[in-house]
């Protein structure tokens, strides 16, 4: 894997060639196929892509929270602080989960257990990892709630999730996630279910906490706007693979992969009047009939060439600030094999 970028510090998390599959009718199908990336300390990495492209599966793989018996890590390595954790037992993972890496999810409505008080649920994570008395844990959770900007924290700890609004629940989730000062926070679409104004509040909050706690964040979203707002670096995923990786500014100023490009053109902009939006025809292939060779985006790609169906592009540095997996770039051809031009035979 080619290290790129300017930051020389050692990565907090290093994912190498991750492959995660699901058992469907007895066979395994990979929903994440050979994903590699680094997360550096204090970095916010955004992951974008259409629904079903494997963002959640990838993050669940890191946490080893894949559904039991159905989902499985089938290859690759996950290094956290230099430790290879992908083969850890559940017990060993429990020491990491919630403490070193924590996670918040998309649905604040269902991610909290409806029958326990807010206080109990925050204390649980604290008591899981630290030797504290109940009382101390309670004090800590009140403090945490205050930190995430919840008014009346002393009272809220005795209340149940259904008594809170969606935004407040997401704050509770964040409080829970940062309770043990984790080094890495994985946020899987944390604001998708929220209103714009509330979303803005939550993003603000996450950014603030990230700075205060010096943690890294993997922020999963399908909203390019959100990425642009707070991320340092972006991974663009398509059909289980990373198709582009870049610093935020670079990605938006000059997207390299046709997919990224289209994605950005498809969003209506506030300050521009376009009569017609860009569209991507067709659908993300489902995990069961994923093309095994060639570029997975080829059948939807306006710039596709004949080779796109036969040659699998590799994620490679296409310029010094950008990685992409597209045969338009010579670097993406496997084995450094130079592309033999065959005319402009587009599909």
């Amino acid at each position: 894997m080619t290290a790129y970028g300017i930051n020389e510090s050692t990565p907090l998390l290093r994912v190498k060639n991750l492959q995660t599959g699901f058992k469907i009718d007895g066979d395994y199908y990979n929903a994440v196929e050979g994903v590699s990336f680094d997360v550096l300390p204090k970095q916010i990495v955004g992951v974008v892509g259409e629904s079903g492209c494997g963002k959640s599966v990838m993050s669940l793989s890191i946490m080893q929270l894949l559904p039991n018996g159905v989902g499985k890590i089938r290859g690759g390595e996950i290094e956290f602080e230099g430790q290879e954790i992908s083969k850890f037992s559940d017990k060993k993972m429990n020491d990491i989960r919630g403490k070193d890496i924590s996670m918040i999810f998309q649905e604040p409505m269902t991610s909290l257990n409806p029958v326990f008080t807010i206080g109990y649920q925050i204390e649980e994570v604290i008591l899981n990892h630290e030797k504290l008395t109940k009382k101390e844990a309670r004090l800590r959770s009140v403090a945490l709630l205050k930190q995430v900007g919840i008014p009346r924290a002393e009272q809220i700890v005795t209340e149940y999730p259904h008594q809170l609004s969606g935004g407040m629940r997401q704050r509770v989730m964040i409080a829970m996630a940062i309770a043990c000062q984790p080094k890495l926070l994985i946020a899987d679409e944390p604001t998708t279910a929220l209103d714009v104004t509330v979303q803005a509040q939550i993003l603000e909050l996450m950014k603030g906490i990230q700075e205060a706690n010096d943690m890294s964040i993997i922020l999963i979203t399908h909203d390019l706007g959100v990425v642009a707002e707070i991320c340092d670096e972006v991974l663009v995923m398509y059909a289980g693979k990373i198709v582009e990786r870049a610093f935020v500014d670079d990605l938006f100023s000059s997207p390299k992969h046709p997919y990224t490009e289209l994605l950005m053109k498809a969003i209506p902009k506030m300050d521009e009047d376009v009569e017609e939006l860009a569209t991507i025809e067709g659908l993300v292939p489902s995990v069961i009939n994923m093309p095994q060779v060639g570029c997975r985006f080829a059948n939807r790609c306006p710039k596709a060439m004949a080779e796109c169906l036969t040659v699998t592009p590799q994620l490679a540095k296409v310029d010094n600030r950008h990685e992409a997996a597209c045969l338009l770039y010579e670097e993406s051809w496997p084995n450094g094999e130079k592309r033999e031009r065959q005319g402009a035979a587009t599909l």
Binding site: M63, L65, P67, D90, K91, M93, N94, D95, I96, R97, G98, K99, S102, M103, F105, E107, T110, S111, L112, N113, P114, V115, F116, E124, V125, N128, H129, Y160, H162, M173, M176, A177
Partner: protein, 321 residues
């Protein structure tokens, strides 16, 4: 909650009145009365029967009879059993402890068994153990209670001789002694198991499915992400949620068990409300029959209320006011 309960209790009144009218009309529509079975030249004469009919008010106009009955009823006077010649209230009171004991034992067995099996199956779905439990439960669900009772007596009382086949206690045991209570336990066990078998099976499957379903919920993923061990997740997070519907069944069970006891008690000759009920039908003991019917209706209504209240207690999302 108190206010809610009182309101609900008051709300039952119209329903109970309606039921009482129907019960009364039905009883009156039934052919024959408690005296038509008493024709027996050894004991009785036609004059006696005619006289008793008059004395018991069977010849009054129906609204008068209803009014007399219902006014007495609300004052706790359920009338006098035409068969046993004692106040129905006393009669029922005499049988209630037995039925209650049977019902509570059945409930206990049901819940304990359902919890043990359900939690095992829920944690390990589609394993051998789960399949075995499921198989067992399907058979339990399929055997009607009277068939089960007959089989149980045949096998456990006669062939294996493990349990007594009748009665609620060994008369020789001294009341109050340990032996007495053991004997009661011994007597109640088989009917209780039969009575509870069906619910045990359905609750087990229910709990299992609920646990499986809950284990796929987002909050379980959250708990795992917090580093909570699987065992605790099952025993605390999931169970606490799965208990909710199960606990509310308690309210319905309350009435259902007593209703279900009719057959079981009869087959096991276990002297309780159920047996009394069936006998009062066959012997046309209307005061008893009507009182029991009202009691069962009330219990059903009360069970519903109880279920709702329990729901409010165990599920923080429900607020009763």
């Amino acid at each position: 909650m108190l206010k809610y309960s009182i309101r609900r209790l008051l709300g039952m009144i119209p329903m109970l009145i309606l039921i009482s009218i129907v019960v009364f009309s039905l009883a009156k529509l039934m052919p024959g009365d408690s005296l038509s079975g008493e024709i027996d030249p050894l004991n009785t004469s036609p004059e006696y029967i005619a006289e008793m009919r008059e004395k018991l008010g069977y010849n009054d106009p129906l609204p008068v009879q209803y009014f007399n009955w219902i006014t007495g009823f609300v004052q706790g006077d359920f009338g006098k059993s035409t068969r046993f010649k004692i106040p129905v209230f006393d009669l029922i009171l005499e049988k209630v402890p037995n039925t209650l004991f049977l019902g509570v034992t059945a409930l206990l067995i049901t819940y304990v068994m359902a919890f043990i099996m359900g939690m095992y199956s829920g944690r390990r779905p589609y394993t051998l153990g789960d399949n075995a439990i499921a198989g067992f439960n399907y058979v339990m669900l399929a055997i009607p209670s009277f068939v089960a009772a007959v089989f149980a007596i045949y096998i456990f009382a006669f062939q294996l001789n493990w349990f007594p086949f009748a009665g609620s206690v060994d008369i020789l045991a001294q009341e109050g002694s340990l032996e007495y209570y053991l004997s009661r336990m011994h007597h109640v066990l088989l009917p209780a198991i039969v009575l509870g078998a069906m619910s045990t099976a359905s609750y087990t499957q229910f709990l299992r499915n609920d646990i499986i379903e809950n284990s796929r919920k987002d909050f379980v993923r959250t708990a795992r992400a917090k580093g909570t061990p699987m065992k605790k997740i099952y025993n605390v997070h999931i169970l606490r949620n799965s208990i909710i519907p199960l606990v509310t069944f308690l309210g319905f069970d309350f009435a259902a068990l007593i209703g279900g006891a009719i057959i079981t008690e009869t087959i096991f000759t276990y002297p309780g409300i159920g047996q009394l009920f069936l006998e009062s039908v066959t012997s046309r003991d209307y005061p008893t029959l009507m009182a029991l019917t009202m009691l069962l209706s009330f219990l059903t209504l009360f069970g519903n209320l109880l279920a709702d209240i329990l729901y409010g207690v165990v599920d923080p999302r429900i607020r009763l006011d």
